[in-house]
């Protein structure tokens, strides 16, 4: 098992060692010991549930800061469409363009433009009867990761397209380089992100070796800088280079609206997605064409690094969409963009076998037998006091050599009772 990069981090001083995050992690990737939470790196899928649930704000996403854009002579901001949903009553997004430029970015390029390209590529894939059904969206990296960990048999269904963020970054770099005659490597593309998972997929992409994005800054940070400016800026009137459909990808179902409006399903919220993937994995829901899954409730507008709550953000986005010219993606996307190899994956998506108990099946069987014996001894309260999320996962931690039975306070109590009785018995012995 190789340790891998993920961007959810713990601020040790703030962690109280409670069991909130422990209980909410969908891949059981958190353990609490030495009075604080620890993340099992290879299991973390960066869904951000622990960031949301922590009352003490001890879980954070490691992202770049505005300072980091100075590493490049030509920094370009790449806002997720979700950014526009943060500002109530915003109707003209060129206000946000101006605000971003005032922070030191030389250019603003929209992820929604990449979404328009990906939209057309999905439509094309859906016309190919050779492709497996349903095709699964690759836009939310957390969904791709949960499939790697829990539903590896569904990996072939994941559509082999890079995320809109990647495609938009490629276009932005090419356009900026040719427009200003600068070297592509002097351009720094910074995604303005609603979530931790996107940061992770920049550092360790799935399906391709290198990301076209150079860094990610959280929407929360950007919001703090530009919220005070928004009321004071006059709209520059720059017309967006994307369709309202590209914008709609910010919310759950937006991808379907754009690319696969019929006979497809959109599911949001990691628990809901797991429920549906489980059925898909059992082959019990068949006969539909496309599956869009978002780890966050509401889609990207529900990302943990947003300021605005997802319901209002969704409404703001809808208002902006309604005010846009009713263009279709195919009217805006240059055909050259669809012909590029860099739109597609060039690597296989490997399964993630971090749930495996042992390298060999025989060894794993032995460990599971031991686990089952231990589970019999445990109280079954799933209280989390031992630092594992459930009694079953505690038994797993014991056989993996990471916990001992006396970390269970009920076993400890029983052992102490026996010991106390023994001491009483010993004290009653007559002979000195």
């Amino acid at each position: 098992m190789t340790s891998r990069f993920h961007s959810v981090r713990l601020i040790e001083d703030k962690c109280r060692g409670c069991t909130n995050c422990l209980k909410h992690c969908p891949t059981e990737a958190i353990r609490v010991y030495d009075k604080r939470a620890h993340i099992i790196d290879e299991r973390c899928i960066d869904c951000g549930e622990c960031i949301r649930i922590c009352d003490y704000h001890a879980k954070v996403a490691q992202t770049d800061t505005l300072e980091d854009i100075k590493r490049f002579p030509h920094p370009v901001a790449l806002p997720a469409p979700t950014l526009y949903g943060q500002f109530r009553h915003l109707t003209d997004i060129s206000v946000i363009y101006e605000a971003l430029l005032s922070l030191g970015f030389k250019e603003v390029a929209d992820v929604a433009r990449g979404a328009d390209v990906v939209t057309l590529a999905i439509r094309r894939a859906l016309r190919d009867p050779q492709r497996p059904r349903p095709l699964i969206s690759s836009a939310c990296p957390t969904i791709t990761r949960i499939i790697q960990v829990r539903y590896p048999a569904l990996i072939p269904n994941i559509i082999n397209l890079r995320q809109p963020m990647e495609v938009a970054a490629q276009i932005a770099r090419r356009d900026y380089a040719s427009k200003h005659g600068v070297a592509p490597e002097d351009i720094g593309i910074f995604f303005i992100t609603p979530c931790a998972a996107k940061m992770t997929s920049i550092r360790s992409p799935i399906g391709h070796a290198k990301s076209a994005v150079d860094g990610a800054i959280s929407i929360l940070e950007i919001y703090g800088h530009i919220a005070p400016l928004v009321g004071k800026i006059k709209p520059a009137g720059k017309v967006p280079e994307f369709s309202p459909f590209g914008m709609g990808w910010a919310g759950s179902g937006g991808e379907l609206d754009a690319a696969a409006p019929r006979n497809s399903i959109a599911v949001d919220g990691i628990d809901n997605v797991i429920r549906v993937l489980e059925e898909m994995d059992n082959n019990t829901i068949t006969g539909f064409d496309y599956f869009e899954g978002s780890a966050c409730l509401g889609g990207c507008v529900g990302g943990p690094l947003n300021f605005e709550n997802n319901y209002l953000a969704r409404n703001t986005i809808q208002t902006i969409q309604d005010a846009m010219p009713k263009t279709q993606p195919e009217q805006l996307v240059r055909s050259a963009e669809l012909a590029r190899d860099s739109l597609y994956f060039d690597q296989e998506i490997p399964p993630n076998d971090s749930m495996k108990l042992h390298e060999s099946i025989a060894g794993a069987i032995e460990r599971m037998e031991e686990m089952n014996r231990i589970i019999e001894e445990l109280p079954g309260y799933d209280c989390g006091s031992c630092g594992s999320p459930t009694c079953r996962s505690f038994a797993e931690d014991i056989v993996r050599g990471n916990s001992s039975e006396h970390d269970c306070i009920y076993i400890l109590k029983d052992t102490l009772k026996v010991m106390a009785q023994k001491m009483v018995d010993i004290s009653k012995t007559k002979r000195e």
């Binding site: 048999a153 994995d281 076998d353 495996k356 108990l357 099946i361 794993a364 069987i365």
Partner: protein, 138 residues
């Protein structure tokens, strides 16, 4: 050898799929390959639903050693009148309740047989049905 047994109640749609999900999780922890895992998962779900929909209740068992995965089910009746007919695709005795939930397409038993390396079924009217299916660990 890993053993597990699950009680499956008649008509227990509220917990449908839980035994199969647990079986799948166990096999994943054992490091069974995704391809084999898929075959077992599809079969175990069919097996579980068969008990819920068609039987008066029963049990399901999992047994794994380093070479074989065995799934078995045993129910308390009512038994299948004509096993050969029940094995043909599209044949189903599911009631309207089950059909309204999307079950009862008559694919359950043939599906299990197709996915398994070995499939055995015995049934006695008035007594019950026993199924044993085996998968080779690849």
């Amino acid at each position: 050898m890993v053993h597990a047994e699950y009680d499956i109640q008649k008509g227990a749609y509220n917990s449908a799929g839980e035994a199969s999900a647990d079986i799948k999780r166990k096999l994943q922890q054992l490091g069974i390959s995704p391809v084999t895992l898929r075959r077992v998962a599809v079969s175990s779900y069919e097996m579980e639903m068969n008990i819920i929909i068609h039987s008066l209740g029963g049990t399901m068992g999992l047994c794994v050693d380093k070479d074989w995965i065995t799934l078995s089910s045993k129910d308390q009746g009512p038994g299948i009148e004509d096993v050969e007919l029940a094995m043909s695709e599209g044949y189903s005795t599911a009631d309207d309740d089950a059909r309204s939930m999307g079950f009862g397409a008559g694919m359950g038993l043939p599906n299990m047989k197709r996915n398994a390396d070995d499939f055995r079924i015995t049934s006695q009217l008035g007594e019950g049905t026993q199924i044993t299916i085996t998968f080779k660990v690849m």
